[in-house]
Amino acid sequence: MRDDKNMQYKRFYRVMPLPSTMVLLLLFFVPLFFTLSSAFVTEQGFTFSRIAGVFTDPYTQRIMLFTLLQATLSTLASLLVALPGAYLIATYSFRGKRLILALSAIPFVIPSILVVLGFVIFFGNNGFLNRILMTLFKLEEPPLSILYSFPAIILAHTFYNFPIIMSLVSSYWEHMDGNCETASYTLGATKAKTFFSITLPRLLPAIISAASLVFLFCFNSFAIILVLGGGPRYTTMEVEIYRQARMLGQTGSAAALSLFSILVTSILLLWYNRTQKRLALSETYRNSNRLIEKKPATLPGKLLALFYTIVSSLFILGPIASVVVRSFMASSSRSGAEAFSLKWYRQLLSLERATGHMNSALQALSNSLVIAALVALCTVPLALTLCVAIRKKEKGSLLELLGMMPMTVSSVIIGLGYYLISARIRGGLLTSYSLVVLAHMVKSIPFVLRTILPEYRKIPNSYIHSSLTLGAGPLRTFLQIELPLLRGAMLTGAIFAFALSMGEFNATLTLANSSIVTLPIVMYRLIGSYNFQGACALGTILIAVCTLVFIVSELAKGGKYDR
């Protein structure tokens, strides 16, 4: 009887990660294997010389060092900006709190080219900030030269990433049991001492988890670094991979460079994973006994909270608002001066004869929504099953690394892999849709994994053991004990999956042979045919849709402790 139960238990956890592994295998590892294997193949046959060349070349090493440096600095800067915000959100209840969280995934849905333009419109030489300052102080030349320098890269990366950290850390923080802190105060420790010796160490799993995401994101950043950094002085591995693969058509060299990148990031990830796992095991789960205070108690506290809120909103909303404002502009007269206009929105809704790609905008919107919803619905269960296996298995950290891999690999290389697939499949529209959904799922799995895993590890083993002892099977335990405890994390994960899918561009274009149009695809086509305002209008719709979805899910998550 006991043995039987044990078998059932083991089999359940062995079978759990199979579906997600299959998806990853099919749309990630198999194409990746074929692309990367070209690093070892030359006309003469098998060789290690390319790999050896890449590892020992001083130029590649310099680029790798710079790539690591900028990713590390960007991650630190994002943490610095995000943690006070996470504190405010986790500790106080205030108006607009849900909205702030809802805005956090928005940078994901805007294609990087619009983020770059948003930055330029807001911070640029002819940008909003400079024009205000020039009018105020009657200046001839723009006073702020923020862009086209190394700090601009860090600034833009921080804009992109601090909301993710804020959202992930605060959601973990909110669910943290407050008794330890109360005990610390009772024993006479100061607020600062309690924070640094009790709260911060307990938060580390969530912080590390979010930081690793941000690090990988910055590691593979491309357009932001080149455009806002000012050019080739700041070259990352991704640029070199692009040059080899796309401009010179040398897949072998690109694959060798990519293997170097993958190796470095994998080592870092393994280290992250280990640290996180060790830290998380010491944490226990509480369904939020934390006292949520109404407002900061002291005047300096209030002022600080206000200052932070204003600065960070300006920081994140500035570039986004620039995109929105731009979408309501059109040159109306012969003089070419731009004025307020609903032209792009009228074209979008077919109220006015659309010029060019605007024709397909509505179709693209519905495609994007359907695909993103499917991706969100399918990715969460998949990532969840991976989480179960990662926690239960002895070799869990290997599985965790595999789940994170889609983030460590350059998009150029994944793109080459997708060519292998698309060259072999000429199915109908349904096949294209399925492939696109699967590819988006692969891309979202790391994010959802990173959202759910820290929460999942907080569930004490004793809960599961009790349930099994009382006679429930592993499936029932999973469904009735673990799932309800993970509701919040699953929703956050679904949001990220939805946002990532809405913003995805390359895989969609490659796998669907352009037979499926999505919003980002139409946006790129508009930009390619000189219509930047039209692209901003579509960007605004993306932002609006996502904000709406996020607000709804935040409300759903809110539940009993949201007062």
Partner: protein, 345 residues
């Protein structure tokens, strides 16, 4: 009971996934009688010339055409080459002269000396073996924002662009990541030679506000007013004249001449529809020329084509420069490396 159900469920999922994965990697068979035409993405979109041309051609010749949008030009070429063992396309549209060598090396194209070639000026015949035939061309050029730069300040040559008065006034594009960026690199080599081009770039470092990853970000920065000069095409002002009714943006014509990019069309040797494919190519080079020029913002190759008035704002340069495909293919890697060394110092 519960165990059994679980087992069943997972077995079903597994079987489903395995079936899907086999169907994914299975090789589909070549279909039917239609003419399969690969073109780059922008050619096939609603905005591109593709749909209108295909519709008209089908009507006139009664040949069914399947226009396949195959990514950008580089991706399309990669696709054609990767399908060599299982070819599908009959015609491929949009391989430019500067990237053609890889296509020649793959040896997949059929020679076709079209009778229409006599109407096309000889400087556009970039492939002496006629595996690729030119169907449109453009010139790289700097576009000026005349509201931000006075007429007397507009540069008249590549050499004058390094003048310190243009400090931070020019937006360039990275040749490692963009074909337009590569266009300027080749342009400077054509004008200043192998010995001189690097010193031009060295001097330009001060004048470049930024060097972007692609044409889109460069042109976006330009229309946002970040700098008054941008690297683009000589035909760029046509869009602003046609759709925004403004002549604010103008092409700066340089006395050294302008580098040319020529787009070519080719027939695959594997095609079993060669007669129809040839008809389609001839159609592209004659009746479709105006549609292509307007939709692509490029110049038509057929000298009999009459252009609308908006093209007056896209003056054809007096001198078109180009480079032999073979020389380019042999040296590109080295040039890009030298360029990177100079620019990242």
């Amino acid at each position: 009971m519960e165990v059994l159900m679980n087992k069943h469920r997972y077995v079903c999922v597994l079987v489903a996934i395995l079936t899907l994965s086999f169907s994914v990697f299975a090789q589909p068979a070549k279909e039917s009688k239609e003419l399969v035409v690969y073109a780059y993405d922008a050619f096939c979109g609603d905005w591109g010339p593709g749909p209108a041309i295909v519709e008209e051609f089908e009507k006139q010749y009664g040949v069914k055409v399947n226009l396949v949008s195959a990514g950008d030009a580089v991706e399309m070429m990669t696709k054609v080459i990767s399908e060599a063992g299982n070819p599908w396309a009959d015609v491929v549209i949009g391989i430019t002269d500067d990237m053609a060598q890889k296509m020649y090396d793959a040896n997949l194209l059929q020679r076709y000396e079209s009778p229409v070639l006599s109407d096309i000026p000889s400087f556009l015949h970039f492939d002496p073996l006629y595996r690729l035939l030119p169907f449109d061309y453009g010139n790289f050029a700097f576009v000026v924002d005349t509201e931000r730069m006075k007429a007397q300040d507009i540069p008249t040559s590549l050499a004058s662009l390094v003048d310190p008065k243009y400090k931070n006034k020019v937006i360039l594009i990275d040749p490692r990541t963009s074909s337009v960026g590569l266009g300027l690199l080749l342009w400077t080599i054509e004008v200043f030679g192998e010995d001189g081009y690097l010193s031009w770039w060295e001097a330009m470092k001060e004048n470049a506000l930024t060097i972007t990853d692609g044409w889109s970000s460069a042109y976006g920065l330009f229309t946002e007013g970040e700098a008054p000069l941008v690297l683009s095409y000589s035909t760029s002002p046509v869009y602003h004249v046609t759709y925004e009714e403004t002549t604010r943006y103008q092409t700066a014509i340089f006395c050294e001449g302008h580098s040319t990019t020529i787009e070519g069309v080719g027939i695959l040797a594997s095609s079993n529809q060669k007669a129809n494919a040839q008809k389609f190519v001839d159609y592209l080079l004659t009746e479709a020329q105006l549609t292509i020029a307007l939709a692509n913002s490029m110049y038509p190759v057929n000298s009999k084509t009459e252009l609308p008035a908006a093209f007056d704002y896209a003056p054809k340069p007096k001198k078109s420069l180009s480079m032999e495909t073979e020389i380019l293919a042999k040296n590109l890697d080295r040039w890009l490396t030298e360029w990177t060394q100079v620019m990242s110092r």
